[in-house]
Subunit: 430 residues, 2 copies
């Protein structure tokens, strides 16, 4: 048993990449994002560091960083390994919860700190997070989950049964991941800001790189969307999965009409057709566009809304986000809910470092929760990875299983210095 | 036509009242609140000021204030009367919306600024806000609403019909309000931190003061709740409306069990039985506890969740909050939704200055939207009003119609100085 360590400090940084200058990341609702991280570094008295962040798209990253700092008193002086208790304490702070509860800026702050705690713990154990989690017992995993508001859909006993059922094959699945990785799909071809030639070229590159699914942003103009879908379908060929993503652009009725107007191009799923808060709207859209499926999750605020999306049949693919809900702990709850309802999890990634994080969650799901890769892919965007200490490695359209200890959240010190807002060189020159 | 004015400055203040020292405001989820306001003052170039705030319960009020400051560039230099356009611009800021969208800290910040803009406009027009809104045309009112994500439940055309239907009786209802005010109920007797003698005494005072409904906090301990309900029922007599409020304490199953165990004391409604995000849970509880009704709203994040609560039959009383959703504009949408579904609005109040604000919204609802007071009461808590420039006036259990121009949000300068955190005298001495 290793020696206990205690958190001794929290540092935060407002890091912003000026991505809006290139129109990378442009979609129907987010035309000009500056991909950003509200970044947190926790230091323990054994010298270990844990890194985490909330992903934002520019303005407000300072507000997000202030929210992370508001959590400092909850972690400083505490046992660095006791992530379950610290997650609960932050989530149920009797005054801070008024600012949510469990949603928006304050909840994303909890996500950043919880993920930093997991990064730290994984480094102390010398394992990549997916493997650390994949080797915890079912009892230890259930202990990490906050079941409040879930018991009408998932009890601790049911969660334990799910985890015990998946236990026998864990070692083989770990070996499979080490040998083959986990399948990815790419959003790189599909940003709205790209012209047709660039779309065509990037679709072909996606095929050449071995990806088995791509995704296109839609929702700004129907004629454009039809033309772009036709191009993508021509390049990729019939039957190849081409997902579309509306980024919350539509009301319920217009979502159904728009997707039907694209149906001849055989979209694989439609992502975020409407408000992420609209459970009943998602269910109505799912009924209205069948057999096209609904996917959502990157803006779903917490496990309570995911629970309802599953109960109502509002999604067929669950796209968890690593840094919006309350970090690893709440994502374990969400993976368990998805397993209970038999819905595949295809994590949201892109942004800053989300690929680096979600690969661990998807691989843990495969090892210890769903036990399956069927119908599952992790989003991949080829963007900003060079700023990370342990960037994702994609090989033949697959995420390679991480081997470095930790959660992969650490941004390189040179990049932190360069892109700190507003005083870093990248911003001073602007 | 009066001269245009432009916003020239935004000041913010972190104001906190040390209410946790007295256990005023204690409930099953919020045992130790320090009632607080993230306060904003907008100044126009004609010398007018608009005041607004987000209500919080202590820690995190600094984060909330930072969020308000993040909106400064959206209002400074703009036409002070153009509240509809400014509300839309803030809500749809292409980068800030990532921090919600339309929920939590960032949305409460929008609420504070939108409400300050309305305060300013009402002062410029020399009218209390309820009267200003009650004299706008149906077309002007519809123009203030953002119908995005609502069209499956309420279209602009339907909203116009609702408003036009209520138009004929407006003048008589304005006169009625001026003569008689609007009925209130009181939560003052029911805080969990009070002993039985204080509960009994405050129930009797509520009756003596002419209130026609009271409310008790419940959810911490069932035996205590049964004893306290019995005392309240003894004092108030059979048939008198006694609402109960669980402040999100329960899961779906435990909510149904707990309320059934209190049914013999004939609760009028049960408020916030579970997570404010759980639309389907509220609907299941409503079915499980009938004929007891469900009320909720103070933590409902936006119009999209209210829409679903109405669609699913998850509430029978809609408790809008003045400072959580996107301010007056989104509350007009919520009043219209409630009218469409025939559900009475009984606003949430208490906290800091929420009574001062919501009276305007309920009176506007009576004048121009629902046209009715039937089944409707405004919450009242006798607390912290002395800090306001234009405090509410309660007479024989009724809110007296405000006459001072504005929205009633202004805190007295002496109180601002005394309770500014952490440097005001009230906090330096602590």
């Amino acid at each position: 048993m290793r020696k206990a360590a205690h958190i001794v400090s929290m540092d935060t940084r407002d890091i912003r990449f000026p991505t809006s200058r290139e129109l990378d990341g442009s979609d129907a609702m987010n035309p000009d994002p500056d991909y950003s991280a509200s970044y947190v570094i926790l230091r323990a008295d054994d010298g270990t560091e844990g890194h985490g962040f909330a992903f934002t798209i520019g303005r407000g990253n300072d507000v997000q960083t202030a929210a992370i700092r508001a959590l400092a008193s909850h972690v400083i002086g505490k046992d660095a390994d006791d992530v379950g208790a610290l997650y609960r304490e932050m989530t149920h702070d009797s005054q801070l919860r008024w600012l949510g509860p469990e949603k928006g800026v304050m909840h994303m702050a909890i996500s950043a700190v919880v993920n930093a705690l997991w990064d730290l713990r994984a480094k102390r154990e010398g394992k990549p997070l997916w493997l650390l989690l994949g080797e915890l017992s079912p009892e230890e995993l259930v202990e990490l989950v906050d079941f409040r508001y879930l018991s009408d859909a998932l009890t601790p006993e049911e969660a334990l049964t799910i985890l015990r059922t998946a236990e026998p094959g864990r070692r083989q699945r770990i070996d499979h991941l080490k040998a083959h990785g986990y399948p990815a799909y790419t959003t790189s071809p599909g940003w709205l800001g790209y012209d047709d030639d660039k779309l065509r070229r990037l679709c072909q590159e996606a095929l050449d790189d071995g990806f088995t699914q791509i995704k296109l942003k839609v929702g700004a103009d129907l004629d454009d969307d039809r033309r772009r879908m036709r191009i993508a379908r021509e390049v990729c060929g019939p039957g190849f999965p081409i997902a579309i993503d509306a980024n919350q652009r539509w009301d319920v009725g217009s979502a159904i009409e728009w997707v039907r107007a694209l149906a001849e191009f055989d979209p694989w799923w439609v992502e975020e057709p409407t408000s992420p808060d609209d459970v009943l709207g998602h269910a109505a859209i799912a009924r209205g566009i069948a057999p096209v499926k609904v996917a959502t999750g990157e803006h779903v605020q917490n496990r309570v809304v995911f629970k309802q999306l599953l109960q109502a049949g509002g999604l067929s693919y669950l796209q968890l986000d690593a840094a919006r809900v309350g970090g690893v702990n709440e994502n374990i709850a969400i993976l368990l809910l998805a397993a209970k309802f038999g819905v595949p999890v295809c994590p949201h990634a892109g942004g800053v470092g989300l690929c680096e994080l979600v690969q661990h969650l998807a691989m843990f799901d495969f090892v210890a929760v769903s036990g399956s890769m069927e119908g599952r892919v992790i989003e991949y965007v080829d963007h900003l990875h060079e700023h990370f200490t342990d960037p994702v490695v994609i090989s033949k359209g697959n995420y390679t299983a991480p081997v470095a200890p930790g959660f992969g959240a650490a941004i390189r010190p040179e990049s932190i210095a360069e892109f700190t807002f507003p005083d870093g060189p990248a911003w001073r020159s602007a």
